[in-house]
């Protein structure tokens, strides 16, 4: 039944991860600069990671395009910016893609001044946040009560940041830069991940309770979702906690004992895979909870 939504599951996860990863990278850059790390060191930390974002977005966008009945007409999607959040999503997605491409090129080839970089980075950040927000608004249809709650943007953003954090952690852990910077970064990321997963669990718990208590179609949505996918629901929670835990433990551990890097990196892969799986299942459940008012 929900299989037709797989392209959307993949697209939303990839796009949100790209936005999240970018924002996390920039935050890391700012923090590192505050800690007085040299600019080259920061570049060595961030630039390789930036390179991953464009393909991530491109793959997501392509998959989204081909879920359309008439993919060749995709440009028409931006024709209703006045009313449709889907039009806005498409526009913001395109802007984010364009901005991040420009930004990446500028950073890699050292084009433009720091000021210009900052302005462009700001554009990327704003369009990225706008993209995730428009994505979440798109699902807030008044005829679909289970989607039309604050939990939708909340989960989309926590997904973006959580996946972004773990993805960045994975990439930077292998970066050729100063060890102390990597260690610091991993510590920051590990702390962030713990907070994010906590937030996510809270949102899920509150939202489930809220929907059930609201009765009507909302309760039917959660009821039906639990009836069919109870196991998936709990698996998703466990994977998120275990994945984040694994990441945090090893992130702190590598920074405490040297020589653990290789073990830690493979653990980061596993942690990322677990959290990614959790988020994909979570998004699957999100679509599975679709139940519309009416017929």
């Amino acid at each position: 039944m929900h299989s037709k939504e797989w392209p959307l599951i993949i697209f939303t996860i990839l796009a949100q991860m790209a936005v999240g990863a970018f924002l996390v990278l920039e935050a890391v850059g700012i923090l590192a600069a505050q800690q007085n790390y040299a600019e080259e060191m920061i570049d060595a930390l961030i630039n390789p990671a930036l390179l991953f974002l464009i393909p991530l977005l491109a793959v997501g966008g392509l998959i989204a395009a081909f879920h359309l009945g008439r993919p060749l007409r995709i440009l028409r999607i931006i024709s209703n910016l006045k009313h449709s959040w889907l039009s806005r999503e498409m526009l913001l997605g395109a802007m984010f893609g364009l901005a991040i491409s420009v930004y990446t090129v500028m950073r890699l080839f050292e084009i433009g001044s720091v000021a210009v970089h900052t302005v462009v980075a700001l554009c990327v950040a704003i369009s990225g946040i706008g993209l995730v927000y428009s994505m979440s608004r798109l699902y807030r249809l008044r005829t679909v009560p289970a989607w039309d709650t604050a939990a939708t943007p909340a989960t989309f953003f926590t997904t973006a940041f959580l996946l972004g954090t773990l993805a960045v952690g994975l990439v930077v852990s292998g970066a050729y830069t100063r060890r102390a910077l990597v260690d610091d970064t991993l510590r920051w990321l590990a702390s962030a991940a713990v907070v994010l997963v906590g937030l996510q669990l809270a949102v899920i718990a509150l939202n489930t309770a809220y929907l059930s208590s609201r009765g009507g179609v909302s309760a039917e949505s959660t009821g039906a979702m639990f009836a069919s996918y109870r196991t998936v629901f709990f698996l998703r929670l466990i994977l998120a906690v275990v994945g984040t835990g694994l990441f945090s433990v090893f992130a702190f551990q590598t920074t405490s004992y040297s020589g653990q890097e290789t073990v830690a990196r493979s653990m980061f892969y596993i942690a990322f895979a677990l959290v990614l799986a959790s988020e994909i299942l979570g998004r699957f459940l999100f679509y599975a909870s679709y139940k519309r008012e009416g017929i």
Partner: protein, 786 residues
Amino acid sequence: MVNSDFFANLITKITKGRRSQARRDSPSHTQAGGETRIVRTCCPAHNCGGRCLLVAHVRDGVIVRLDSDDRRYDGIDNPRLLACSRGKSYLRRQYHPDRLKHPMKRIGKRGEGKFKRISWNEALDIVSGEISRVRETYGNSALFVPYGTGSYSNTNGSHLARRLFNLYGGCLGTYNSYSWACINRATPTVYGTLITGNQRQDWVNSRYILMWSWNPAEMIDGTNSAYYLQKARENGARIICIDPRKSLSATGLADEWIPIRPGTDVAMMSAMAYVMIDEELYDAAFVATHCVGFDAAQMPEGLENPESYEDYILGIRDGIPKTPEWAEAITGISRNKIARIAREYASIKPAMLYQGYGMQRRAYGEQAVRAGCVLAAITGNVGISGGWASGLGLQAPDGGSLWLAFPLDDNPVQASIPVAAWDKAVLHGTEMGKKDGIVGADRLDNNIKLIYAIATNCLINQHMNINRNARILADENLIEFLIVQDQFLTPTGRFADVLLPACTSFETYGVQDGWKYGEEVILMPKLVEPLGETKSDYQICAEIAERLGIGETYTEGRTEREWVDYILDVYRAGRFPNIPGIDEFEESNIGAYVVPVTEPDIAFTDFRQDPEKYPLDTPSGKIEIFSRELYDMGKLDEIPAVPKYIQEWESPFGAEVNKYPLQAIGSHSLHRVHSTHDNNDWLEEAFPQRVFINRIDANQRGIKDGDMVKVYNDRGAMVIPCRVTVRIMPGVVDIPQGAWWTPDKNGIDRRGATNVLTSERLTPLAFGNAQHTIMVQVEKHEENGR
């Protein structure tokens, strides 16, 4: 795990044309734009009870649309003749890719379904050769035309072969029908006639209507019958529907649904009579003057001793009073409800008890017919406006339309069999006599040796016990030659030796009348050319006649159109004195010629006024609650002289229940007219073929809605999806009849052909089919290897 369709469809998506394709697969978009002709015509109807007007749009030789009756006026004296889902979806049948387009002959074993295309010349030479060979070898009585109602437009249909054989020296005759054998036979035992119905415009005068086993919203018992009931209800009538299944009629037409265990209608009717007698609610004055056999004081002369109706109801002889408590255990209806319905029907005047045909296609279907008529009589609802005498209910004053006016000529062979006994006449016809329902002769002098099947699926699909039918037909020593003439390769067609492709009724001239109800004649002008090499049934039979040397006799030099004109002459000489000839009719494009009914005729008015002066055509001249004719047959166990509840030969009260605990019925669905339209995809979308089962029975079997289930008994099995529903009584399953038998390699039907489960045993008096009297088991089906 991105779904596989996703990538598979990629290329298709990119290369897609600019305009919608789904809307192009219809013929209207495959043709260059031309002039659109609007022609009013009749729905080919096949054998439903309606005759409806369709407004065909014809462009470039293709019918592109069928609009609804667009006449302005829509009063109840002359209402619009609006077609149902079947008529409205007719183009899916008309332009179905599986239409037969060429003559074919069999190349495999009979029934294997392997055919080779041949020319019309070769086909007709073979067919006429076999007809004359069988006649030479065995005589005319070895030739047979089975019951066939797949075409009804006069120039298309099975009667064309009857005329052919009649002119060629005759063939084994038939009487009765699969639809209403028992009601046709039993109604006259009470009333001496089949014309027991008021015209439908009178229904609005009724105050209380019992729709008993009657489902006009689905089987269409007359175009607009459901609409007249709605009007009656608006006029204040209370409508009760008694049916094991909450049909569309029970839902949309009735105020109350009373689920009843199939085959127990007479138990409820008897208990109602008990309440009326016990509480003195019946119309004693009417009974005294108009009926015989009600009580011991009213028995016919010389038969004072046998059991009267009252004796039976009160249990004087058998010691069993037919109380509501007694009936509750049999019918599954609470005693209070039975008593309430009895009181309502007896006291609200005038009232109708309308008998549908489902309850008489059962083991002792004759009893339900007679019992219903008796209730109508003892409540005094006979011969009055707003009342209803029950029974077959052909409409007053003359029984209604002709149904077919094409001249069949006389059959020189006198012997006739009940239509539903053809299988017995194939197996051991020469041993059949009066006890088997033979009329016109003491016994048959031949087994059936050649069958010319036109517009019929009755040899396999619609006859009881399909697996047995298939074995009979497969034996080339029994039926030596089988000609099947149809528009599709039906399950019957698969057994043909030669297949002749017929055109549809849209592809030749035809004419239809109101059938059971209605006062109209609807012209069917030829809309388009016959598809492929197809020809009308008339034309094919004419060409066979030519080869048999009776061409001129058969055609009388007429084309289809000229025959239609001839038939209009027949109507003009009878009930439609002012009907135009074909030129004017066609030119005017009125579609339907209608005589509005402003003062509906009431059956039995004369008799009601003065039973002595206007006696009925019964032995006593009165309403025969006790029938001398039946008494004289001397088989009181199965053919009692007063209507009785008799436990059926397969029932939930017999030992068979241990093996097969569920009763199965085959309702009439809007998907099909019998088996016609089973391959219509719009109708399968609207009314998918399912086994309908109550939640309680489903839960006991671990069956969930939509599961594949196996339905079986000793005679056969099917595997199809189920629908778990509250709309059917526990203990009963419904498999809408008419789906095309589709056996898999193990012989299990995969489409839901009800008749794989039914029994060929016939009813005792009418020799009618008892297809609804069957017990089955249902279980969840797990496909092997999955």
